[in-house]
């Protein structure tokens, strides 16, 4: 969540009520009967018994019986719960502002009566932007959750929780209370530890099917464009403020030379270009065996606040690190804006909760179902030694696929800097050398004139149709090319504005 330029004009202008992919349908779910005026959804999951669970900004948690369409209030009084996990039909784990909390119904009357602190061993300056995002649970029984930084939109409060650290206070987004801007691991044996550093507004954690942990972050200071990170212990992901809590880091983090910080930082496995892909990415949800959602098992979904969009992410390991591509997937009205939380329903359809909290977004709950008909989508985009290999869900019509004009590639990077966001730097078209199409028509290999490491490569494929005459549903795809398959040059850090021509716009 962030300061965001409204995209109202474009959205209001498009009145066609259809997703880009006609094989998916969106259904509105009636909102929970909250006593309060808004029905923003800040947490969403399913109980083992199949009931839907939602958390509202008002601190209420409701259960919804999908068949009878009946809502029931389970708990109330929580402080901005921004994520929920169901351990059983009567036991939830919730991230609320002050805590990771176990919420239980002990007497079996259907309403929670016990609110136990799992951990509150982190700080709060009382700044509104110190959100506590999305608990996830790994296979070993450890919890992870993400602490937002404080915003320069306000200061700190009169009494703060946890040792105040003035080194973390300066800067646009600050971290004056313990571990703001960190992802926290709460271990099975009861320790609360800062697991990774350098996060700004990490509104969404999630595992892939292999157990890798991911978190999104939102464009802003130190974050040139929104990102997806592969979270690993003790790594620093770029936003300076939380370094105030990193052992061995001295001085005021925001005053450190950007080049020094750039050397410390781990690159994002996905960059979501601001304005065209996502401005505020949210939760990460793996397309797993429970999903009935098309031929994308193993890939990730990521919500986006500003547009009616859910993004699909495909990753591969290159040079020992994950990187890959993102593509709009469930895109356009009638999907609402503010897609914040997602979960798979018992029938394998996707439930989406929408929110806004004064930023761009929406409110309500929607169900996205797959018709079981094969969509025409980019199934995968992988790096090759000289370019990219595209795999499609259906055979492509080669007449269009082999036309170089239909593959207008470009590349650029976002700077690493203290200032808010970043322009696209060093942006230029990339010429195509050769196109080859596999015999079955499912794969297209694009050889580029140059593959530039540490640059984002994107293409908006034109005129492509399947062999049955269907248009490609989503044609804009972005590959975050950090490493090459071999001979990757060192990270150029990209802390300064390129001296080359200012890019077209």
């Amino acid at each position: 969540m962030n300061y965001i330029l409204p995209l109202l004009i474009g959205l209001l202008g498009s009145s066609v009520l259809a997703l880009t992919s006609p094989q998916y349908m969106v259904t509105d779910i009636p909102p929970p009967p909250t006593m309060f005026k808004n029905t923003q959804i800040d947490g969403l999951t399913f109980l083992p018994n199949g009931k839907l669970v939602v958390c509202l900004p008002s601190g209420e948690i409701f259960f919804y019986h999908l068949q009878s369409k009946k809502w029931a209030l389970f708990a109330e009084g929580l402080h901005n719960p921004l994520g929920v996990l169901a351990l059983s039909n009567s036991e939830l784990i919730v991230t609320q502002r002050p805590e990771l909390t176990r919420v239980r119904d002990l007497d079996g009357d259907g309403k929670a009566d016990d609110f136990e602190v799992v951990t509150d061993q982190f700080g709060m300056s009382g700044n509104y932007h110190e959100f506590n995002f999305t608990p996830v649970l790994d296979k070993e029984g450890n919890y992870f959750f993400a602490l937002g930084t404080g915003s320069s939109g306000d200061g700190v409060r009169t009494i703060t929780r946890g040792a105040f650290n003035e080194r973390g206070r300066p800067g646009r987004m600050h971290s004056s209370a313990p571990y703001r801007g960190c992802i926290i691991k709460y271990t099975q044996d009861g320790n609360t530890i800062p697991w990774s550093y350098g996060h700004r507004t990490p509104n969404g954690l999630g595992f892939d099917l292999k157990g890798n942990l991911f978190a999104t972050d939102n464009q802003g200071d130190w974050v040139g464009s929104s990102k997806l990170f592969h979270i690993q212990k003790d790594r620093f992901y770029g936003h300076a403020a939380s370094l105030a809590w990193k052992t061995g880091f001295e001085g005021i983090p925001v005053d450190a030379p950007p080049a020094k910080l750039a050397q410390m930082r781990s690159r994002a496995c996905i960059v979501f270009p601001h304005g065209s892909m996502a401005n505020s990415p949210t939760q990460v949800l793996a397309i797993g065996p429970k999903a009935n959602f098309g031929p994308f098992t193993g890939q990730l979904l990521v919500g986006e606040m500003n547009q009616p969009r859910i993004i699909r992410v495909m990753l591969e390991e290159v040079g020992g690190e994950l990187q890959g591509a993102c593509v709009p997937f469930i895109d356009g009205s009638p999907l609402g804006r503010g897609c914040n939380r997602m979960a798979w329903a018992p029938d394998g359809s996707l439930f989406v909760g929408q929110t806004k909290h004064t930023w761009a977004g929406g409110q309500g709950i929607q169900q996205v179902s797959w018709s079981k008909k094969m969509p025409f989508e980019i199934q995968n985009m992988e790096l090759t030694t000289k370019g990219f290999l595209f795999t499609f869900t259906q055979p492509v019509e080669s007449k269009f696929a082999q036309d170089k004009k239909n593959w207008p590639f470009s590349r650029y990077f976002f700077e690493y800097r203290r200032a808010y966001g970043s322009p696209r730097s060093d942006e230029m078209p990339v010429e195509i050398k050769e196109i080859s199409i596999s015999e079955d028509g499912r794969q297209v290999e694009i050889e580029l004139s140059e593959l530039k490491a540490w640059h984002i490569h994107e293409v908006k494929i034109q005129n492509l149709i399947s062999q049955t005459g269907e248009n490609l549903s989503n044609n804009y795809i972005v590959y975050t090319l950090n490493r090459l398959l071999d001979n990757t040059p060192p990270d150029p850090l990209q802390v300064k504005l390129a001296t080359s021509t200012k890019s077209k716009k």
Binding site: K37, R97, D114, M124, Y128, E130, G155, T158, G162, A177
Partner: protein, 379 residues
């Protein structure tokens, strides 16, 4: 209804009534300030109470509005009103015990006190209104339909649409909110008890911060939730009990509501002056959670190896609150309370010193309760 629009010349009315202006105002002042009279809510300085009772001092509602004032005094007014641009929620009861003369004196006093410059009110005006006005209590809508504002004088006045917060008037079940409260760490609770006592409990330091009863429960939670979470809850009225520490003395709640500081007054990491001292334990309290017992939150925290529970309910007489504690395992304990002019404190066990220190032996500490009662406002 338009009969009294002509301003009555003050001297003339005084002559007519056979009383001097000074005498009228003096009597009015005495009645206004009488025990249980106007002063109880509108206060001696006429400024009312923030959020609940509107100001009379330089109120725009009084301007050219004497007929309206008479109507409010006689019939009462129920519903949210906006006065001088600010919202108020309490209802004004009809003044059934005041006869025409007394009401005329009071209204005359109000019209002339605290910088107000309205005319005197006659007994005849009140008598006539008493006969002719509709019998039911006014709502802001019915009142303003009958006695509209002079638009030139009253731009910031009228009524407003109440939010959920405004509608919480009589508490029948405990309400437990975790939200930002003034004068507490960001990990605070706001709890409303049946019997309309309210308290702020701070999970950041495992302690009761303050208790209040007048003016209703917290406000602005709705905007706290709907927005990005910046607003700190507000409440009307003044706590009758405030736990003091060396770090937190008499700061105003307005000051304590500030959110834009460079650094805090203090942070909770040391839990300085934690009120419960158990012999041999030199540890900070750790918040463990709460359980709803008959909907009442029972807070649970640890101090070293000791588990403490605390439940706060309205006392049997419904005059104040009773805090019930258990300490397990029990141990010799001292408990620091904050005595004040506003409340009396009593304890079921142990000895309570004048300075507010409650001493409990091991046996007594297993379960004990503390009653905090607001004192009647003395004159």
């Amino acid at each position: 209804m338009k009969k009294f629009l002509l301003p009555i010349v003050l001297g003339f009315s005084g002559l007519l009534l056979g009383e001097s202006k000074e005498a009228i105002l003096k009597k009015g002042e005495a009645l206004y300030n009488g025990a249980g009279s106007c002063v109880a809510c509108h206060m001696k300085d006429g400024k009312g109470q923030k959020g609940s009772v509107p100001t009379l001092a330089q109120s725009d509602w009084l301007k050219n509005g004497t007929e309206r004032s008479i109507a409010i005094a006689l019939r009462g007014l129920a519903g949210p009103v906006k006065v001088n641009g600010k919202n108020f929620y309490s209802a004004m009861p009809p003044q059934l015990l005041m006869d025409d003369e007394k009401l005329a004196h009071i209204l005359s006093y109000v019209n002339q006190a605290w910088g107000n410059k309205e005319r005197l009110v006659t007994e005849e005006e009140v008598a006539k209104a008493r006969k002719s006005l509709p019998i039911s209590v006014y709502t802001p809508q019915t009142l303003l339909k009958q006695f509209p504002f002079d638009k030139k004088l009253s731009r910031k006045n009228g009524t407003f649409t109440p939010t959920y917060d405004d509608l919480i008037t009589t508490i029948i079940q405990p309400i437990v909110y975790r939200t930002f409260m003034p004068g507490a760490s960001p990990a605070a609770f706001a709890v409303a008890l049946p019997g309309n006592h309210y308290f702020c409990w701070d999970a950041g330091e495992c302690r009761l911060r303050y208790v209040w009863t007048k003016g209703g429960f917290i406000r602005s939670n709705q905007s706290h939730w709907s927005s990005n979470g910046k607003p700190v809850a507000q409440f009307n009225g003044t706590p009758y009990y405030r736990a003091r520490t060396s770090l937190l003395q008499n700061e105003s709640f307005d000051d304590l509501s500030k959110t834009n500081l460079k650094q805090p007054i203090y942070d909770t990491s040391e839990a300085k002056d934690f009120p419960i001292l158990i012999e041999g334990i030199n540890r900070k309290p750790v918040f463990l959670g709460y359980r709803l017992v008959d909907q009442y939150p029972q807070f649970r925290y640890s101090l070293g190896k000791h588990i403490i529970t605390e439940m706060i309910r309205v006392n049997q007489e419904s005059t104040g609150v009773e805090r019930t504690f258990t300490i397990s395992p029990p141990a010799q304990t001292s408990f620091h309370l904050t005595p004040s002019e506003e409340a009396s404190i009593s304890c079921s066990q142990g000895t309570l010193n004048k300075d507010g220190t409650l001493r409990l032996n091991q046996e007594e500490s297993a379960q004990f309760s503390i009653v905090i009662n607001p004192k009647e406002e003395s004159k």
